[in-house]
Every structure is written in structure tokens, then in C-alpha cells.
């Protein structure tokens, strides 16, 4: 059977279908994760439901979307896909690269955050938020300004043995709704749709995905409010930690997989070393340029590049 090897989230994925949104792995790389089609074994007796579509036990998680596929994610290195006969490849990819990848990253001890990310001279800057907060729109504005892309929608944070947090490169496409594309002067004509029924388009990344992970520097938590102002407010103490928990992918299943203690610990370590800022914009208009200017000014003024930090501390 043909397989395709990709590099994403700091891992090599051996896939049973082509995933152009992922970067091809270097030839000869050993796979960290094997994804295969097959029939799913029955769930273990102690598996518990996590919402209507997921069943979880320690070491494995199942996710089933009726009419599309059931996924079994286990051991942090394997995904089994039982696909329905008329499921389309695009939906399989959607499940795999989002939900499936997030479950697997939890199993491998990574922190999968609901965020897009860029590389700045001071390290990785994340734009974190719920659906509709403006993660992709802001990401695209920073790509236009020449910053390399690091992640879209799912940012995988890895902690090294010394506790330093790094953000791994993710997918190499962005997704924009028609109005956001129009706002940045991008016509949606000719762009592939994420799904045929949705006015949401796949936008290629012209200046490329970063080649290497970047040290996490700042996280901007995006939200809107009913005021005419753009405000930036640095988060401190428990609020930093809560923001990370609130924007963790698949947070409902973390506890049921028996991973919550480790997950909390990771969130604390990340909170302690990152600048976390709540960004609010008017809910009746994005004011994209102004918003990006404010965020850019914030990381430029408040953070040091890893090189100057090193010189200062003398290590």
C-alpha cells in the first residue's frame, strides 16, 4: 500500500493518504506515528464516554464522526482509521490533522494549543483563541509582513528536559473565510474550499513554513468586546494558567485519559516562562492593521531576542 511521510508538530507521520497541507518528510526519516486504515477493535471495558463522539481510556482515545470515519489514537504513536465507504478524503484529513493529531500529541506529552503561530526575532508568538477569535486572520496579516509561519489553528508546544518550551512547525496552509480573505485583498476565486458547502477557503502560504521549532516567547489570547477600542492586557498568575487550560485542544478528554496531572504541570511550566497578553478588539470590526501593529509593538517592546538574553545572563 502506498504511504506518504510528512513532518508536522515535531513528528514524522506515515499516512495512508496524501495530505498536501503537511510538509513532506525528508526521505528515509523513521516514522514516529503510523496511520493506517483498518477495522477498529472493540473498546476496552473500562473506556468512558467523553461527549457523544469520543470514548477514552488510559492510553487510547476513539473519535467517531457518523458517515465519515472512526479513529483510534493510541500509545502516542498509532492512529487507526475505520472509514465509511462514502467518506471523502478531505473529511478524513480534517479529522486526522486536527482532532486526531491533538489526541496523539496529548499522549506524547505535548501541549496542543488552539492557536496559530509565527516566528518573530524574539521567538514564537502564538495567537490563541476560540473559533472566530481571529487567529487565522491575524496570522495571515503577519505572514504578509514577512514573518515565517509556524502553525495554524493547532500549535504544538514541547517542553525540553530543562523546562524550556518550544513550538513545533505545524501545517503549511491557512484557512480563511471569504470575508477575511477579502479584507486582506485576497480573492477567494479559484481557491479550494475547505468543504464544498462552506465559504471557507484554503490559502497557500507564500513565504513558507518555518524549518525548525522556535522557543516560545509570547501568547496573545484573542477575544472581542463591545467597545470601540483595541486593548492589550498582560495576564498574571492563575489567569495565565487558566488561559492555557481553556485553549487546550481536546480538553474534555485529558482527564479521562488520565493525563490531567501532567497536563496541568505542563501548563504551569509554560505559563511561568511566557508573556501572556489578552487582546480585545471591537466585535463589529476587525481593524486588522491596527490590531497587528499593537501586537507587533508589544512583542518588540516587551521581549528580548534569545541572543541578547543569552548575552545578558552570560550563559
Amino acid at each position: 500500500m502506498t504511504c506518504f511521510d510528512y513532518a508536522a508538530y515535531g513528528l514524522i507521520w506515515r499516512m495512508p493518504l496524501a495530505c498536501p497541507k503537511l510538509r513532506a518528510a525528508l526521505a528515509g526519516s523513521a516514522a514516529d506515528v503510523t496511520v493506517q486504515y483498518g477495522e477498529l477493535p472493540p473498546p476496552p471495558a473500562h473506556a468512558v464516554a467523553a461527549g457523544p463522539l469520543r470514548q477514552v481510556s488510559s492510553g487510547e482515545a476513539r473519535f467517531g464522526l457518523p458517515g465519515v470515519a472512526r479513529l483510534l489514537v493510541r500509545g502516542g504513536n498509532e492512529i487507526l482509521i475505520e472509514r465509511q465507504t462514502d467518506a471523502d478524503d478531505e473529511m478524513i484529513r480534517l479529522l486526522l490533522v486536527g482532532t486526531g493529531a491533538a489526541l496523539l500529541l496529548h499522549q506524547r506529552g505535548r501541549l496542543p494549543l488552539h492557536a496559530s503561530a509565527i516566528v518573530t526575532p524574539v521567538g514564537a508568538a502564538l495567537f490563541m483563541g476560540h473559533s472566530g477569535a481571529g487567529k487565522s486572520t491575524l496570522l495571515n496579516e503577519f505572514l504578509r509582513r514577512g514573518y515565517p509561519m509556524l502553525a495554524e489553528d493547532l500549535a504544538a508546544v514541547r517542553l525540553e528536559a530543562d523546562g524550556a518550551a518550544w513550538v513545533e512547525p505545524g501545517v503549511q496552509i491557512t484557512k480563511l473565510w471569504a470575508d477575511s480573505a477579502a479584507q486582506r485583498g485576497q480573492s477567494a476565486v479559484g481557491l479550494p474550499r475547505v468543504r464544498p458547502e462552506l465559504e471557507k477557503f484554503v490559502v497557500p502560504v507564500t513565504n513558507g513554513l518555518a524549518d525548525a521549532p522556535a522557543r516560545l516567547a509570547a501568547i496573545y489570547v484573542l477575544a472581542s468586546h463591545n467597545q470601540p477600542t483595541i486593548t492589550l492586557e498582560e495576564r498574571r498568575d492563575a489567569r495565565k494558567f487558566n488561559a492555557l487550560l481553556d485553549h487546550t485542544w481536546q480538553k474534555l478528554v485529558v482527564k479521562r485519559m488520565g493525563l490531567h496531572a501532567a497536563h496541568f504541570q505542563r501548563a504551569i511550566v509554560v505559563a511561568n516562562q511566557s508573556r501572556i497578553v489578552r487582546v480585545q478588539r471591537p466585535d463589529d470590526g476587525f481593524r486588522l492593521k491596527e490590531l497587528a501593529d499593537a501586537v507587533e509593538a508589544d512583542f518588540t517592546a516587551n521581549l528580548q531576542s534569545p541572543i541578547s538574553k543569552k548575552l545578558e545572563t552570560g550563559d
Binding site: 463522539l53 473519535f63 473559533s131 465559504e199 463591545n226 481536546q250
Partner: protein, 278 residues
């Protein structure tokens, strides 16, 4: 499992007032009800809630798929809830594409339907959405009227088909799966003690007369309005100058022209008569 209490209404019919009353009643220790922390209730069209429970983002799903999974979101909330959990609903009652009720009876503790004279709804609706009263009257008569209608952009809430004002009322009152307790906004104004006490009873909450009276004082319109003026209200849409506008049952008599009144009565006469508004 029967833990959810649906607080269903067409928008601008007193739903927020009832929620804030319930919050004040649940927190007798607080001197003021915090209008920005109504923690006894959730919104049926909450996108973030859907994403968390389903494990897949609604923004990647079609409206039909979202509709199909919405009942499962409510089942999960019922499974997690310890006390009665109030859910604000502006959808019209309907079935999902697979035939079940969007609001599952097996998890329902009570259904409170709040109705308000459409002549009073119209000026409030116009203010809320930042449109003219004439446009509000047109929308209130449109069967396809939908909150957060899917367009070329992502909406902050899930799509919530409401239909016309009449269609909304009839959908809830004539369905047979959920026993409905009908509450008139006008009665909440005229005899608040009796009608709010009945809402508590239906929701399965104990009725404490003193606590109820105190909660009514804390949710008097002038106090809610003063708090909005002082600290703002996060539920106010940017299109509206203020959320707590007039809070009266019959200010429409001064706000509507005779033509507008005639138009509303012609659009909704049958249902208005059924509810005693004509």
C-alpha cells in the same frame, strides 16, 4: 438526568431579565446581581460549548451537521450538571435532520416559554440589532429569520433559525414533546412575585418568599440599567446604544406609528389573539 430548563423566547421578550432574576435568587449573599456574571445559565447557540463537547470545530461543519449534533451537546451538559441548568434558547422548536427533537425531552426538567406583545418587541428588536423599526417588523414576519445565519464569515454563535414571531410562538406552544409553561412578559411586570415564583417551582427550585422579594429588588429595571451605565454589559451588541433600554410593557404605544401597529397586527393577528394581545 432531567436537569435542563429551557428558557425559550423570541429575542427581546424578557429572557435576560428572567436569567438575571434567577442569578440573583441563586446568590442571595450578593448585594448586587452582577449583570456580567449570570452563571446559572448557558446559551443554546454557544459555539465554544459545541466545540468543546463535540471535539470537532463547528466552523468545519455544515449547518445540517451542526444541527444533527446539537442535541448531543445538551445531553452532555445534562450529564455534567448537578443543579437545574437554565439554557437560553432563541431557536424555534424543531426536529433535527435525523428526526429527533433538537431539545431532547429525556434531559428536560422544564420548558419556560416567555412571550411578549410583538408590538413591544419591535422597537426593542430594532434597537438591539441597530436597524429601523420598519426593518425589525419585516424581519419579525420572515419565516427564514435566523440568528447568526451562515454567510461568508464565521459568526460568533451557531446558526439559530427562529422564523417569524408567530412561527416561533406556535412552534413552541404546539409541539407535544415538551410540556411548556407559558409566561407573559406583561404578567412578569404586573405581578412579579406570583409569576417568578411559578418559574422557580417549574424549574424544581424551592420558593423562599423573602429571597424572591430580594431578588426582584436587585433585578429592578432601573438597577440593571444603572449597572450597565456604570460598568457596561457584555451582552450588548455593538449595534445597540444600550441593552437595558426602556423595560416597559406598553411603551410601544408612543414608539410605533399607526401604520407600524397595523402592519404587526396584520402579520401576527391570529397568534396575538390567541395570546390575548388583541
Amino acid at each position: 438526568m432531567q436537569r435542563l430548563v429551557w428558557l425559550a423566547s423570541f429575542p427581546k421578550s424578557g429572557n435576560t431579565w428572567v436569567r438575571l432574576f434567577l442569578t440573583a435568587y441563586s446568590h442571595p449573599e450578593q448585594e448586587e446581581v452582577d449583570i456580567n456574571a449570570a452563571d446559572v445559565s448557558l446559551h443554546a447557540g454557544n459555539r465554544e460549548l459545541f466545540d468543546r463537547v463535540i471535539g470537532l470545530e463547528a466552523s468545519d461543519l455544515t449547518p445540517a451537521e451542526i444541527e444533527r449534533f446539537r442535541p448531543d451537546v445538551y445531553r452532555q451538559l445534562a450529564a455534567e450538571a448537578e443543579d437545574p441548568l437554565f439554557i437560553t434558547v432563541h431557536d424555534r422548536w424543531r426536529r433535527t435532520p435525523t428526526g429527533g427533537s433538537l431539545f431532547p425531552p429525556e434531559i428536560t426538567a422544564a420548558t419556560i416559554y416567555i412571550v411578549r406583545d410583538p408590538r413591544a418587541v419591535a422597537p426593542s428588536y430594532a434597537n438591539h440589532y441597530g436597524i429601523s423599526i420598519d426593518e425589525a417588523i419585516v424581519q419579525m414576519a420572515t419565516p427564514a429569520n435566523t440568528i447568526a445565519k451562515p454567510l461568508n464569515r464565521l459568526r460568533s454563535q451557531l446558526p439559530q433559525p427562529m422564523g417569524s414571531w408567530s412561527g416561533h410562538v406556535v412552534s413552541w406552544l404546539d409541539q407535544t414533546e415538551l410540556p411548556v409553561h407559558l409566561v407573559r412578559y406583561e404578567n412578569l411586570h404586573a405581578e412579579p412575585e406570583a409569576h417568578f415564583a411559578e418559574i422557580l417551582r417549574r424549574a424544581g427550585l424551592p420558593v423562599d418568599t423573602e429571597r424572591l422579594a430580594a431578588a426582584l429588588v436587585r433585578t429592578r429595571f432601573e438597577r440593571l440599567q444603572a449597572q450597565e451605565d456604570a460598568v457596561g454589559f457584555k451582552e450588548r451588541p455593538s449595534s445597540a446604544e444600550r441593552f437595558f433600554r426602556k423595560g416597559q410593557a406598553d411603551s410601544w404605544r408612543e414608539e410605533l406609528t399607526p401604520t407600524q401597529i397595523a402592519r404587526i397586527e396584520s402579520d401576527h393577528g391570529a397568534v396575538m389573539a390567541r395570546l390575548g394581545y388583541l
